[in-house]
């Protein structure tokens, strides 16, 4: 097979940090080439260099044998390299067709927009690559899997021959992932080349032709699915053997801490998102809530944390009615929250680490003085967070934005774990962070529960819910279904519950 893209000695520095160190990479035409590594291993930087977002400091890139040096994503795009970003870059209020042509419009006479021409071209693409997309609907009305397809068609329309997928499966359901992989294989069969960035090793084995493993900015291995296994890749990535299994501790289930009865709530658009939800979490118990995104998890957590007023129903914390309490009261009564969106809700990226570490603590626990923030005390607590949760930080005065995603998450988790809460609510606590950090956070969750805290784990990562939870609830369309105790149901059975196959699962 011909080599379509070759990198030789590519190095990229950000200040004193070397994000990519002399990377050699050879991508063959018509293959799916996976680039795996922990977050912070330099995958995204590398892809940003290939797609023209960053300029390289050293090294060379050859596209079909010719040296290239892109100054902007536009140049890369003209050369046939396109990227499907993790966060979709679509205009919600525009039609799908308009989204696809954005920036690459065709014009007819007098410089007027020629939508007919665009439509013809896009429809041709859809036929060739087997996509089924309603071009005239608004982007905001589409489910996530569809948005991803739109992104793919968008870069195909721009003439991409090499498609870069940045963590494409993190937003998809199991069925959605299957669909994506089918589409990827089909694209490759039509002669396109795919670079696939991920840290989900199972998927790599499933779909990739070639695998390159990155660690700390450098290539540490090159292999194929036939020659390797999940465990082998994982140990290559972190440099040691990692078992992506939670080590369950023995716990005593105590009194009920959180009791939710008959909870009903609507979202901001007035749509009922929670229907007669009943839920109990006991002291020392980890209850996991599995579900496809948008099934009502967000609203449930908001109700439980005082961010949304429920329509009816009651929420009791240790016997106390907190149905209509504010966030502040929740905090003071001993509820912690690890929010899903760590950058938007979990931290203040402009503030130093220590300021981020004492949020909530300064209210619920407080300092010696009622009005003043005791810097010594604050820093002692922040230092505890950093030490006990091994946050890699050079100084407490550094802004938290200088940390990698995994370290930010460890700091947030640490802050919430160390506040002596009765109940801890976690939303996707390990989203988008590396295996080492996931393993670490899982271990901490276990320890926390073993110490008698009630834990509610809401996660879109089914594997996480199944590994960590003592008891599983499945949310589908605003209702909770019993997912059994730890290990009672198989992944397939829970997957079925997640997608509304209640009867089928019950029969089994």
């Amino acid at each position: 097979m011909d080599t379509i893209l070759e990198l030789r000695g590519v190095t990229k520095r950000f200040g004193s940090l070397v994000a990519n160190r002399e990377i050699d990479l050879t991508v063959k035409k018509g293959t799916i080439h996976a680039v795996v590594g922990e977050n912070g291993a330099g995958k995204s930087t590398l892809m940003n260099i290939i797609s023209g977002v960053h300029r390289l400091d050293d090294g060379e890139i050859f596209l079909e044998g010719k040296p290239v040096n892109f100054r902007s994503p536009t140049e890369a795009s003209k050369a046939g390299i396109g990227m499907v970003h993790q966060e979709f870059m679509l205009f919600p209020e525009l039609t799908i067709l308009d989204n696809i042509m954005m920036g690459y419009e065709r014009t007819g006479k007098l410089g007027l927009l020629d939508r007919r021409q665009v439509r013809a071209e896009v429809e041709e693409l859809l036929r060739t690559y087997n996509f089924n997309i309603p071009l005239d609907e608004l982007a905001r009305e589409q489910p996530v899997a569809m948005l991803q397809q739109i992104e793919i068609v968008k870069i195909l329309y721009r003439g991409a021959n090499i498609l870069i997928f940045d963590e494409p499966t993190s937003v998809l359901t199991p069925a959605g992932v299957e669909g994506l992989f089918r589409a990827m294989r089909f694209l490759v069969s039509k002669g396109k080349t795919i670079l696939f960035i991920t840290h989900k090793l199972k998927e790599v084995l499933q779909v990739a032709d070639e695998i390159t493993v990155l660690k700390e900015g450098a290539v540490v291995g090159h292999t194929t699915p036939a020659e390797t296994s999940e465990e082998q890749m994982a140990s290559m990535m972190v440099g040691r053997n990692v078992m992506l299994k939670a080590n369950k501790l023995k716990k005593d289930r105590g009194r009920p801490i959180l009791q939710v009865t008959d909870l009903q709530a609507r979202n901001d658009n007035g749509i009922v998102k929670l229907k007669h939800v009943n839920l109990t979490v006991h002291a020392g118990e980890i209850v996991g809530i599995a579900g496809v995104a948008g099934s009502g998890q967000v609203e449930l957590v908001q109700c439980l944390y005082g961010l949304r007023a429920p329509e009816s129903g009651a929420i009791l914390l240790d016997g106390d009615d907190i149905t209509r309490a504010s966030c502040r009261e929740h905090r003071c009564k001993g509820i912690g929250l690890v929010p899903q969106d760590r950058m938007a809700d979990g931290c203040n990226r402009a503030a130093p680490i220590w300021e981020n570490c004492i949020m909530g603590y300064h209210i619920a626990h407080g300092f010696r003085s009622k009005w003043l923030i005791d810097r010594g005390e604050a820093e002692t607590f922040a230092q505890r967070v950093v030490d006990e949760f091994s946050v890699k930080a050079s100084s407490l005065n550094e802004p938290i934005s200088s940390l990698s995603g995994g370290n930010v998450q460890k700091a947030i988790v640490g802050r919430e774990f160390l506040q002596e809460n009765k109940l801890l609510i976690m939303e996707d606590p390990t989203r988008g962070i590396d295996i080492g950090a996931i393993e670490f956070i899982w271990k901490k969750i276990e320890e926390l529960a073993a110490s008698g805290v009630a834990v509610l784990l809401v996660s879109q990562e089914l594997n996480e819910v199944m590994e960590v939870s003592d008891r599983i609830e499945v949310i589908y369309d605003g209702q909770l279904y019993d997912g059994g105790l730890h290990g009672e149901l198989t992944e397939a059975q829970i997957g079925l519950l997640m997608t509304g196959g209640v009867e089928d699962a019950a029969e089994k």
Partner: protein
């Protein structure tokens, strides 16, 4: 301003020096365009700032309101409250202080204190209006405060007429309230100037706000609310209460400024007397990057330039608006994100550098 290390401090200083030099050069061009010698004009400015005891007094007089409005803006902007109504709150405060100064009968220092309180509380109440509108009707405070500035301006003018009663003449230029009781006035610091003890109130305010931000829980929360509202709410900060408090505090300070202007400088309320001092505060807080100490420093520069400009106009043929133009340009130069500019410029460099390397390699 949290400065992490020496190089950062150097960079910041460099930025201000650069901006200052740039506007000095542009200013020189503007002055020569008007037919005066720039050197002479600048000398006159300097003379006006610190050339004599009365010059210094005048400089202090102008620094005082700059600090007040600068702090009023800083308190609001740092927490993400877009209070553009400082000018209006200042008018309301000034008018209320005048009324108390005219009619209240209180012994000794109680009278000026009552005036200051009346001024600041009126400013606070006037700021309550946009705050409530925002919370009840969800109308952006940027619009409401902007509009309420006009309300304050015209309503105080209207009430000035009422205070003057039947004898009011219709020439609004000459219109003003009677002069307040002498016992209400603030002590003059430099004889025959308008420098008053108001400067001490201003500096005390800077110190108090500095301490609040640096050491208190409230200050910590005020900062977090401004930098990430959602984070603060999840963390348990009462964000609605915080929003109102900050709005009221900002209005309180603006009203206080109005009262000090009346008690320390004018002695009576004249409609439209403030001449955009409220807006100066917004610019000052931008230069100071919302730091209280920075506000004090920037106000010194700002107030000095204001005092100097008046002197320049007296001795040269240059219009004093030139200085205002220069001040505005200074704000522009300071608010440029030089770091990003530098980054962009550097981004273009590697290409040249690698190209250069290639050549060297060729020679070897």
């Amino acid at each position: 301003m949290r400065l992490k290390n020496k190089s950062e401090l150097l960079l910041e200083t460099l930025k201000y020096v650069l901006a200052f030099t740039a506007v000095a050069v542009i200013g020189a061009a503007l002055i020569s365009f008007q037919g005066a010698a720039p050197g002479e004009a600048y000398a006159a400015i300097l003379q006006g700032i610190c050339g004599s005891a009365s010059a210094i007094g005048n400089t202090i007089r102008w620094i005082t309101p700059c600090i007040f409005t600068g702090i009023a803006a800083t308190v609001a902007f740092r927490s993400g409250v877009m209070n553009l109504g400082i000018e209006g709150q200042l008018y309301v405060g000034a008018f209320a202080a005048t009324l108390v100064g005219l009619y209240a009968e209180l012994p000794g220092w109680l009278l000026p204190l009552a005036c200051l309180l009346a001024g600041s509380l009126s400013g606070l109440l006037f700021a309550l209006i946009p705050a409530v509108i925002k919370l009840v009707f969800r109308i952006d405070e940027m619009i409401t405060t902007l509009m309420l500035n006009y309300v304050a301006l015209w309503v105080t003018e209207y009430f000035t007429k009422i205070v003057k009663g039947a004898s009011a003449n219709n020439n609004s230029k000459a219109m003003a309230t009677p002069v307040i009781q002498e016992s209400a006035e603030l002590t003059t610091l430099v004889p025959r100037t308008n420098a008053s003890t108001g400067i001490f109130i201003a500096l005390l305010l800077v110190a108090v706000v500095f301490v609040i931000y640096r050491f208190t829980k409230v200050g910590y929360e005020m900062k977090q609310v401004g930098e990430n509202l959602r984070f603060a709410r999840v963390g348990g900060v009462r964000t609605t209460r915080m929003f109102i408090s900050i709005f009221l505090l900002s209005g309180f300070i603006a009203g206080l400024c109005g009262a000090v202007e009346i008690l320390g400088v004018y002695g009576k309320f004249t409609p439209s007397f403030a001449n955009n001092i409220g807006w100066d505060g917004i610019m000052i807080s931008m230069i100071a990057k919302n730091s209280p100490v920075g506000v004090a420093l920037a106000s010194m520069l700002w107030g000095a330039l204001k005092a100097g400009a008046l002197q320049m106009e007296r001795v040269t043929s240059t219009n004093r608006l030139t200085v205002e133009l220069i001040q505005a340009m200074f704000v522009l130069f300071v608010t440029i994100d030089y770091r990003r500019l530098w980054g962009k410029w550097k981004d273009r460099q590697p290409r040249k550098r690698t190209a250069g390397k290639g050549k060297e390699g060729g020679i070897c």
